[in-house]
């Protein structure tokens, strides 16, 4: 019987341990237990690593934006997006040749308190922290996923890596001129640099924290953002206000507040106050859309969530314009947000069956085949099935979320035209017998499968034999990723999120030298396109550059390398007592610092 008793004791001991752990979690940040203002947010997936150098998902970016600070940021409410200084005192001073950027920092900004610092108190953020943060991307030990952004762009940085990535060695193009001035020198003009300095991977990182935590720095983030992390697991992150976060009061006017479009959210209450307004931020990671929705609609759990696509019809009175049904409108605030990105299906031009072919005749026939497949795509059905019918369908690869979007561009390439597709196939001598096999690669999971089935359904509609359209699933995303980076996949359905509001971010997907294993998964190779890309890459935004961008866009459309595209539009709902305007694009996680939670009574009064 002793054995059994021991088992029982162990079990009890576990109970005790987890209870104390939970109590500790509660104790933090609740000095005045009655007044803990908590906002309960939800995200689609667990972010993984919280190291700014390792940010690779949307949710990780949200986390990093709340925990860390970058030099620049996008204005909270201004649309289209506009940059503003965050840790920088002002916009950078750029030399006339566009190669030297001098950036002055605000003074007196401190990191959150952490035991990684010698006395446990967060020290001041200085220019050297940015030098360190950028160098880290070139240190193999930090396993950066963002090094490509600066690759070959900053004078001396690549050499620094080749020389052994010794942090004590200076980099010519990356220097702290004094405690509060950072200077970056580029090898060639890089118009997107400031955008990059607003992204998570450029955040200030204290060297002592990285050295203190080693690899586990990823789950022990130490930054100067509005919140600091107190617990983090696969289902939830709990953050509390960073006591050292002292910034100038919020000015709605400066953030680009528009009372006409944004007046209904009650944002005025934050004007003139110092962010953050909440004490505690609980972020649940909920994979299942339905579970997220149930949790949100219960009222006492998650306070802000996107409406799952399958619920859209249930929740909306009308889709254009988007109007909530009264029973929802009574309870929730709503905003719609179009992603700065799009979903598309790419052909891999390396496959002679459907891509480039040495025989020019066949090459032309292949182009016709791709164009026919493109015409067979019923974007509206896809939008209706998966995106609640709210998505924005546009031709080509420049979505409307960037200023270079061309509203005049012909929509022929996104029109559903099965007759046209059949005619095109017939014209180029394609028939059920000689059509090549199409292998469609995908991740496992019911949704991916239905994507495939829908794709196959469209193709069988234009006379493609069912058995020639083959599904290839990979057990993990990693393996799928490997295969496509090695140009082993014929057809891929992908989504692309732009890093900054500049069409360059999606045009690079078809730049020849970016071919596999780079981001040009189509392995599109067009010398004319590449020439234009190189020319535009050093140009500041201008009408001229926009014209060239649009020219490149048309090339991609004419060559039928990609079936594109659709920008998803999400509907976010949040409880009436929450003051916020969520953003999942470029403002991202930074909106969380502006969230306020009113008393329930006040919340209903606002309505």
């Amino acid at each position: 019987m002793t054995a059994l008793r021991t088992v029982k004791n162990i079990a009890l001991c576990f109970v005790a341990v987890s209870l104390t752990a939970a109590c500790e979690g509660n104790g933090n940040g609740s000095s005045t237990p009655t007044e803990v203002k908590t906002f309960h947010y939800s995200m689609r997936s667990s972010p993984g690593s919280l190291d700014p150098a390792r940010v690779s998902t949307v949710s990780a970016n949200v986390m990093v934006q709340t925990l860390y600070d970058s030099l620049y940021a996008y204005k909270y409410l201004q649309r289209p997006y506009e940059l503003k200084p965050r840790l920088a005192a002002a916009m950078p001073e750029i030399s006339d040749d566009g190669l030297t950027y001098t950036i002055r920092l605000k003074q007196g900004i401190r990191f959150a308190d952490n035991r990684a610092f010698s006395n446990g108190r967060g020290r001041e953020v200085v220019a050297e922290d940015f030098v360190y943060a950028l160098k880290r991307h070139f240190d193999p030990d930090s396993r950066s996923v963002a090094a490509w952004i600066w690759q070959g762009r900053i004078v001396g940085l690549d050499e620094w890596k080749r020389n052994g990535a010794d942090y004590d060695q200076p980099v010519k193009g990356l220097q702290a001129i004094d405690r509060y001035v950072l200077q970056i020198r580029l090898t060639r003009p890089y118009p997107q640099l400031v955008h990059n300095l607003a992204m998570g991977p450029s955040a200030a990182v204290p060297r002592e924290a990285v050295e203190f935590y080693g690899r586990e720095f990823s789950v022990n983030p130490v930054g100067s953002g509005p919140f600091r992390l107190i617990s983090y697991d696969a289902t939830e992150a709990v953050l509390v206000r960073n006591e050292n976060f002292q910034r100038e009061p919020v000015s709605l006017a400066e953030e680009g507040y528009d009372p006409i479009t944004q007046g209904q959210y009650g944002l005025e209450v934050i004007d003139g106050r110092r962010a953050p307004f909440i004490d505690r931020l609980e972020i649940s990671f909920i994979d299942e859309g339905s579970a997220r929705w149930s949790s949100f609609t219960k009222g006492n759990e998650v306070q802000m969530a996107g409406v799952p696509a399958e619920q859209v019809y249930r929740v909306l009175e009308s889709r254009d314009p988007v109007v909530l049904k009264p029973e929802y409108a009574r309870k929730y605030h709503m905003s719609t947000e179009k992603e700065a990105g799009f979903v598309y299906t790419a052909f891999n031009m390396d496959f002679p069956e459907t891509g480039y072919h040495p025989d020019p005749v066949r090459n032309e026939r292949n182009r016709a085949l791709r164009c026919a497949i493109m015409k067979a795509r019923d974007w509206n059905a896809r939008n209706d099935s998966w995106y609640g019918g709210l998505g924005e369908i546009f031709p080509g690869i420049i979505p409307s979320s960037v200023p270079e979007f061309d509203p005049e561009l012909s929509r022929e390439s996104v029109e559903y035209d099965p007759e046209g597709a059949r005619a095109l196939l017939a014209e180029y001598g394609w028939n059920a017998g000689n059509l090549p096999e199409l292998v469609y690669s995908s991740q496992p999971g019911p949704t991916s499968r239905l994507f495939f089935e829908q794709f196959r359904g469209w193709l069988t509609n234009i006379g493609y034999p069912k058995e020639k359209i083959i599904l290839k699933t990979y057990a993990t995303f990693a393996d799928l990723s490997k295969a496509w980076h090695n140009s082993e996949e014929q057809l891929l359905s992908l989504g692309w999120l732009l890093d900054y509001p500049d069409a360059e971010s999606s045009l690079q997907l078809f730049y020849g030298p970016n071919r596999s294993p780079g981001s040009n998964s189509s392995n599109y190779s067009n010398p004319e396109y590449d020439r234009l890309y190189e020319a535009t890459s050093v140009m500041q935004p201008s009408a001229e550059r926009t014209a060239l961008y649009r020219q490149m866009n048309r090339m991609v459309i004419d060559d039928c390398v990609v079936i594109s595209g659709l920008s998803r539009v999400g509907i976010a709902l949040w409880h009436k007592n929450v003051v916020a305007l969520p953003d999942n694009n470029f403002v991202g996680g930074q909106f969380l610092q502006y969230v306020d939670v009113l008393d329930k009574a006040v919340g209903s009064a606002v309505r």
Binding site: S18, W148, Q151, I286, E288, N514, S519
Partner: protein, 321 residues
């Protein structure tokens, strides 16, 4: 002393098992498993960066070296860091196993206790209406998929469309009430699915014991039913019951709640394993597999010791298989 020596011998005898499990899982999960390289490099990697990542992941080292490394990890219980979060696998396990235990225990205890209870009732009235009713319900319970039960209970009890009595998801053990609120629905789903199997199993065991000769002997000597039930039937049923219970433990601790935890968003080891499967997080998977194997060896030992406690015919000295 006898028990100690026996345990030691038994644990040593478990080494081939652990080696087998680790070898197979290493081959399948790690060696032929997912290649994380391209998930860890950036969008436009250079060949050099790819090589760096591959080397950091150990893909460039020979099989034997990597397997030996795995064995060393098992011995030192240091499984490195998760490839997804970079957190130490040991701290992940230390954090998540207690959660999984707290989640699984009520369902496990209820499922088995109710199973034994129903089995007793069914066995007592065997052949009768009550028996048919219980066993019929058990068959129905067994025919419902776990997934269907989970979805059904969640809609029914937690969602705003249903009774709305419990949280939809999440985990909170800060107060006993919070714990009960969060554990109830998952427990119901578990019990619903397990009860059918448990009842059938225990009924078979108990009926088997009821028809033993010594039960007839006891009746022939006028021993009252309650005493017969306890001394002849229940005590003799303990061996199969204990076996079933103890051998469920490794799966509960490690992966039994995989579906449950991922569906209810509970930060236990099941959820971690689920995420690791989806993302191919090999260090976590390696640790989970190795720990399960070790726990199985321990469970075997525990059952043997329990046998010894309930059945005098079993001696720990002799080899038991």
């Amino acid at each position: 002393m006898e028990v100690l020596l026996y345990s030691l011998r038994k644990l040593l005898a478990g080494i081939p098992l652990v080696l087998g499990v680790t070898l197979i899982s290493f081959l399948l999960i790690v060696y032929f498993g997912p290649d994380k390289t391209y998930e860890l490099v950036g969008k436009n990697p250079t060949a050099e960066q790819i090589a760096e990542v591959r080397s950091q992941l150990g893909y460039d080292r020979p099989f034997v070296t990597r397997y030996m490394e795995y064995l060393r990890e098992i011995v030192t219980l240091d499984f490195g860091s998760s490839e997804s979060t970079d957190e130490k696998v040991s701290s992940i396990l230390a954090r998540t196993i207690p959660v999984s235990l707290l989640l699984a225990l009520p369902g496990f205890i209820l499922g088995n206790a109710l199973g034994v209870l129903l089995a007793l009732v069914a066995a007592y009235f065997r052949g009768g209406l009550v028996d048919k009713l219980i066993m019929g319900s058990a068959a129905v319970g067994m025919s419902v998929s776990y997934l269907i039960a989970i979805i059904g209970f969640q809609i029914l009890l937690s969602s705003a469309d249903g009774l709305d009595l419990f949280p939809v998801r999440g985990w909170d053990t800060s107060t006993p009430l919070a714990y009960i609120q969060h554990v109830t629905v998952p427990t119901l789903a578990t019990v619903f699915v397990a009860l059918g199997y448990n009842t059938r199993f225990y009924r078979a065991v108990i009926v088997e014991e009821m028809t033993r000769d010594h039960v007839r002997t006891a009746r022939a000597f006028g021993i009252p039913p309650a005493k017969i039930f306890y001394r002849n039937i229940l005590k003799n049923s303990m061996v199969p019951i204990v076996t079933r219970v103890v051998f469920s433990i490794p799966l509960i601790v490690i992966s039994g709640s995989l579906l449950l935890e991922s569906y209810f968003g509970i930060p236990g080891i099941g959820k971690v394993s689920y995420d690791a499967i989806i993302t191919g997080d090999q260090p976590v998977l390696k640790a989970v597999v190795a720990l399960t194997a070790i726990l199985f060896v321990v469970a075997q030992l525990l059952t043997d010791i329990c046998y010894r406690l309930v059945d005098p015919r079993v001696s720990l000295g002799a080899s038991t298989r």
